[in-house]
């Protein structure tokens, strides 16, 4: 019974999340690390590029220049960032491209107030919807 009620709550939450992000279907976002393929796919968002090109290797100037140019061209306004990384580079790219950095929780407890799984996805959905408005 316990599991059943949990699943029911999850089902309700999923309906709520899908409704919140429905207006932004197909919207393009940039990520700092390649961390959100499932989240983005589930809600119909498109990852159009990554600040970090290869994991652990600092981005090269040519890569960042191309990224900034494509963000300007396609009017991409959001860079999703993990809470534990240094955001300075993402902030700089956002500034050059006229976008903003949005911190998204990569797991339960990664940001304040995201203490359960549902809270975590709630937080992320709200943050992304707010940023894409």
């Amino acid at each position: 019974m316990m599991i059943r009620s949990e699943l029911l709550r999850l089902g309700e939450a999923m309906a709520r999340w899908s409704a919140t992000l429905a207006p932004f279907k197909g919207a393009k976002v940039i990520v700092d690390h390649n961390m959100w393929p499932y989240f983005l796919t589930r809600f119909g968002l498109v990852q159009a590029g990554s600040v970090e090109e290869r994991p652990g290797i600092p981005a090269t100037p040519a890569h960042l220049t191309k990224l900034i140019a494509s963000m300007k061209e396609e009017k991409i306004k959001v860079i999703l960032a993990v809470p534990w990384a240094d955001h300075k580079l993402a902030e700089r790219v956002a500034e050059e491209a006229g976008a903003k950095v949005v911190v998204v929780a990569n797991g339960v407890g990664a940001v304040k107030g995201a203490d359960t799984y549902l809270d975590t996805i709630d937080y992320n959905v709200r943050a992304v919807a707010q940023a894409l408005k």
Partner: protein, 329 residues
């Protein structure tokens, strides 16, 4: 594309020039004192401070985090100043090693208490020169100019203690106090620059231009000028290479410094006589003006010219730093 690249790299390049300005100068001190790894030890203890602040909920970008780092670096400066002994039975580098190891291990213990603490620690030491913005360049330039002014005002004790500590003791300077002021101001610089550019880049800017200056000139003025010119030239080359060859900028600058120093070393090895003669001539000029006895002259108060270096038995085997050390009175 080129204009975009320029827009992206302009501020990082200016920051490199600011770094060259203060680090090439400080490099002469740390080489003369034989404490080349002091920057890494102070950066690590500052990282320990910032990690502690992070445990209390202060993010890396906040001023509280910066202040905690600075506080710990000052503590490190105190340790370095207090552990100097007149007789120098133990190299100061040993103390520096201990400070480094203990603060690195301490940071691991603290990071163990916070999620992703290790990532924060890494970010603090790796830096990211491309993320530099105009406001940051200005802030750091003003801060380093103030430190530079402080060092200019205190140049007599600082240079005397760096090059000839025995003379400083004899003349009655309060060596520990001046040492503390030196390392504390050095800590301010290193704490800021490591956050911007990372440990490797800061180490390169500190040591390589100063080495080039020491190899090519004998008095502090020309040495500084050469250090600055060398640092600027390498920065320009590395920035262009990083843009043209699509390479990560920080690592490119560090490797460019290494390659240029190697090229300079090979050049000096091939043409020691021609250059040696000119360095000897400049030394003579300096001696006529009493330059050789100036306290502002590195190398034990007696300038070491390239000719001396080349003529010194076994100098090639020991390398330039050891050769200079051997000249201490």
């Amino acid at each position: 594309m080129t204009a975009d690249l320029l827009a992206l790299m302009w501020m990082p390049f200016l920051m490199c020039l600011v770094l060259t300005g203060i680090h090439a100068y400080l490099g002469f001190h740390v080489i003369a004192r034989e404490v080349v790894f002091v920057d890494i030890a102070l950066a690590q203890i500052a990282a320990l401070g910032a990690t502690a602040a992070f445990l209390f909920g202060f993010e890396l970008e906040t001023w509280e985090s910066y202040a905690a780092g600075l506080g710990f670096a000052t503590l490190g400066a105190l340790v370095l100043a207090l552990t100097r002994s007149r007789t120098r039975r133990v190299s100061h580098e040993a103390v520096i090693g201990v400070v480094y190891a203990v603060s690195a291990a301490g940071a691991v213990l603290l990071a163990d208490r916070s999620p992703h603490g290790a990532e924060h620690l890494r970010g603090m030491l790796v830096g990211s020169i491309l993320s530099v913005r105009g406001s940051e360049v200005l802030k750091v330039a003003v801060l380093y100019a103030a430190i530079g002014l402080f060092h200019w005002l205190c140049r007599r004790p600082f240079f005397l203690i760096s090059t000839d500590p025995d003379a400083a003791y004899r003349e009655g300077w309060r060596v520990r106090l001046w040492d503390f002021l030196f390392y504390a101001s050095f800590g301010v610089v290193v704490t800021s620059s490591v956050r911007i550019a990372g440990v490797l880049l800061v180490f390169s800017y500190l040591i390589v231009p100063a080495l080039a200056g020491i190899l090519l000139a004998s008095r502090i003025g020309p040495r500084l000028a050469i250090g600055w010119a060398f640092g600027t030239a390498v920065s320009v080359m590395a920035m262009v290479a990083s843009a043209a060859l699509d390479l990560p900028t920080g690592a490119t600058v560090v490797c460019a410094f290494g390659l240029c120093l190697l090229a300079l070393g090979v050049f000096l090895k091939i043409r020691p006589r021609a250059l040696g003669a000119s360095a000897l001539a400049s030394l003579r000029t300096a001696d006529r003006g009493g330059g050789g006895r100036e306290p502002l002259c590195l190398g034990g108060g007696q300038c070491l010219s390239l000719a001396d270096y080349v003529a010194m038995p076994g100098a090639h085997r020991r390398g330039p730093i050891m050769a200079i050390a051997a000249r201490r009175p």
